[in-house]
Amino acid sequence: VREPLLSEKGQATVDVREGSPLPDDLTREELTLPNPSEPETARHYTRLSQMNWAIDAGPYPLGSCTMKYNPKFTEDVAADPNAAVHPDRSARSAQGNLELQYRLQEALADIGGMDAVTLQPPAGAAGELTGILVTKAYHEHHGNDRSEVVIPASAHGTNFATAATAGYEVVELPSGEDGRVDLEALEAAVGDDTAALMLTNPNTVGLFERDITEIAEIVHDAGGLLYYDGANLNALLGRGRPGDMGFDVMHYNVHKTFATPHGGGGPGAGPVGVVDELAPFLPTPRVREAETGSGYERFEPDRTIGRVHGFAGNWLVLIKAYAYVARLGDEGLADAAAKAVLNANYLAERIDLDVPFGPFHHEFAATAGDRDAADVAKRMLDFGVHPPTTKWPEMVPEAMLTEPTEIEGQSSLDDLAEAFNLAYADTDEALDAAPNRTAAARIDQVGAARDPRLSWQALDGE
């Protein structure tokens, strides 16, 4: 049952100029928007919500997205009205917020093996940009003229786009035969122009870059920095720290690693950690213990890159990340990684699809072989689960990149495996016709892009 658009349920047009305190030439004539009653609003969004998959509905094993359960109590912590202050408050009158910022900075630095952390970037990609801008500022400060960022072909798309946004040329590094970085190819790719290598570890098929020490040496020897894309940090919690592996700068995806809700696309938060040498370049302000007296203060790093967000980032999300880290503690963090890896390996064992590389950690890229991975995924929807990420990374043909995370249990993984296997073994006709037990049948995405209708105004006359 389709839920009508709010606009279809009734709009009202208001004469803006009637009774306006502003002169007519500063105002619009009228405003036309939906005017539902509160009960109608409640029903509209309740019904919409019922047409939406979520981690609270079932497994959501999107590879590289790390969709895990968002503990409810973190919502309550973040809803504290005392935390909801204006960013322009004096440090003196916002000691509570500064303290929490400081504590989270410290915890994240510990977890990443980094020396200094900024919480300002409002999402993972913003963290990447921050990290690369810091890298750039560092090189510029040292008079290095470096124009390239090296990125493995299998990396997240954001890495490439980030490097470009920061004004770098991208040097794409082909994957080695074993799915990992090929040291010889790396040697060939880096040089005097190399500003940084951006690397995810474990990489996007879940493989740990065993040669990380050598990789770091090669990049550092060439005068480049090593950037850690934190998207897969969940696999390493308590088991390995980017800082210990030679990474100079990294971002954390708090919705991936620290279980803050993804909210259907955000808000996230992408704190950035760096080694001491890079700390002076971090965005301003940062928070530290007060140099005189007690409490906390804001300060501007000496050679700051400025800002990457208008204010202090996605504050409410950061609070939730703090609460999650506090809830798990050392044992919980390490166990989250252990169970995430256990689950991925168990699920891979249970499915009939081939998994070309290994040993993998928290995720694996199965191949649908001669089936269309996207079709298999659509069919999986009919079996009451959410499918994995499809057709990426490209080094695995018809890839189904699967990351169950630590929150699934054996029976849930068995259900998931069954959905995989049933869909994979199904007829071409069934795959083409899928999904057919969902709120909408297969959606014409090509048509949507060919004739973009992006607002209810664009639907007028339909």
Partner: protein, 442 residues
């Protein structure tokens, strides 16, 4: 039977873990990790796990260390009363705990909500296209500049912005411009708004994008936006207009003054004051459709011929186009957009217009009361104001602000003798107290 996991959020009983390890064919979980010894870590962060109750208490204690102030603060981050229904609906797990809508067949609810959000922004801006969110006003402005860089054929590389601009916004813009080899320059202001004559003198072929905003950072309404639009048009620059979702409800439509792009803040609906957390507006003319940064939701059909929604034009995006994407943005502020849309629906056009009109009236009324005090002049600028205005104080402004804080009120000190005061429905009933505190400290 017993469960002794380190993380309370993993369901594995000891028996299950053992069975799963056996199925994989390894002895223990350690055997699954392929991390060479030299870079392995022993797990000792020194973080003590706490119960959820302990953490709630701990954080409540921490946040209680924020002083209990009545905030008359704005300058880009605004609080309005958020109706309870917004929390209750947006907090529904199907919204809050979902991911980006990569499988639209099981994501129709959120997609439709975002489509509706886009539509509301189309109505408010008069432009053809709105994306379904940027991080905040500052990053939206940065994205506008890179869009201008891609679409404009001017010979130049200058992004021209008002001399008076929220410092954070300027700093973010610089970072986006830096990567695209653009430079940020300013044009002068006259009495809180653009000095259009000076701007006309400055405008030229080297300007890729001309940015104006209304309300300005000082709360003043621009009165010659169409003239600024004409200037941009004449010189081939993109005209980017900054505003706010509440102000847009009553101010002249951006499309009508020639705006090519509208950026700004929509988090003033749906969010409480949240230390600056925002919701960036990005809307533009159809011409730039394939250059829009961020996610777009479009209407389509499903196999049954029923209307359905899907993320669309994804070839603009980083996960497809990589370094040739229109932006590096991936995770955006979808859930905040949902909140803003619910808030807007709850208000309806009447409620939105009332709210916006009160932003004008309350600012005027409070300025008039402060003007009546000896040692203060307000508003400093002879303009129409929206929510906020500048006050001249004879005494040093930082000291006055500090004294007001001691009285329980927060205002901005923006210059040696200038304060800025912002009034909304959240603090309007506390203006008596603020005026009394002013009298006390002046």
């Amino acid at each position: 039977m017993s469960r002794a996991n380190g993380t309370p959020y993993a369901p594995h009983t000891d028996e299950e873990t053992a069975a799963m390890l056996a199925a994989i064919g390894v002895e223990d979980e350690e055997a699954l990790f392929d991390i060479p010894d030299p870079v392995a870590f022993d797990g000792d962060f020194g973080i003590e796990p706490r119960t959820e109750r302990e953490i709630r208490d701990e954080c409540a204690r921490i946040f209680a260390r924020n002083d209990d102030l009545t905030e008359f603060l704005g300058r880009g981050h605004y609080g309005h009363y958020v109706p309870s229904v917004v929390d209750h609906l947006a907090d529904r797990a199907e919204f809050l705990t979902s991911y980006t809508q990569y499988q639209p067949e099981v994501s129709q609810g959120f997609l439709q909500a975002l489509f509706e959000y886009q539509s509301m922004l189309v109505e408010l801006t008069g432009l053809d296209v709105a994306n379904c969110s940027m991080y905040d006003a500052a990053t939206a402005l940065g994205e506008a500049a890179t869009l201008a860089d891609r679409v404009r054929s001017t010979s130049g590389d200058v992004v021209l912005v008002p001399e008076q601009l929220r410092e954070g916004k300027r700093a973010v813009l610089e970072n986006y411009c830096d990567g695209a080899d653009m430079t940020v320059e300013t044009y002068p202001m006259a009495d809180g708004t653009a000095d259009v004559d000076a701007l006309a003198d400055r405008a030229g072929d080297d300007v890729v994008m001309l940015y104006a905003e209304s309300p300005t950072v000082r709360g003043c309404l621009e009165e010659r936006l169409a003239a600024i639009g004409d200037l941009a048009d004449e010189t081939g620059a993109l005209f980017a207009l900054g505003s706010d979702v509440v102000a847009l409800s009553v101010l002249e439509s951006p499309a009508s003054v020639g705006a090519d792009v509208v950026v700004g803040e929509a988090g003033s609906l749906g969010l409480p004051t949240s230390y600056g957390m925002g919701l960036g507006i990005f809307a533009c003319r159809d011409d730039f459709l394939r250059q829009v940064p961020g996610r777009l939701v479009g209407a389509s059909e499903d196999a049954n011929g029923d209307r359905a929604y899907t993320l669309t034009l994804q070839t603009r995006e980083q996960h497809i186009r990589k370094e040739r994407a229109t932006s590096n943005i991936c995770t955006n502020q979808a859930w905040v957009a949902l909140r803003a849309a619910i808030h807007a629906a709850t208000l309806g056009p009447d409620g939105l217009v009332d709210l916006a009109n009160d932003c004008v009236r309350d600012a005027e009324a409070l300025a008039a009361r402060i003007e009546g005090l000896s040692g203060a002049t307000a508003p400093v600028h002879d303009r129409h104001h929206f929510r906020e205005f500048v006050v001249h104080v004879d005494q040093p402004a930082p000291a006055v602000a500090e004294d007001l804080e001691a009285e329980g009120f927060a205002v901005h000190a923006i210059d040696d003798h200038l304060l800025q005061v912002c009034v909304t429905d959240l603090n309007a009933e506390r203006t008596d107290g603020l005026v009394a505190a002013f009298e006390e400290v002046l």
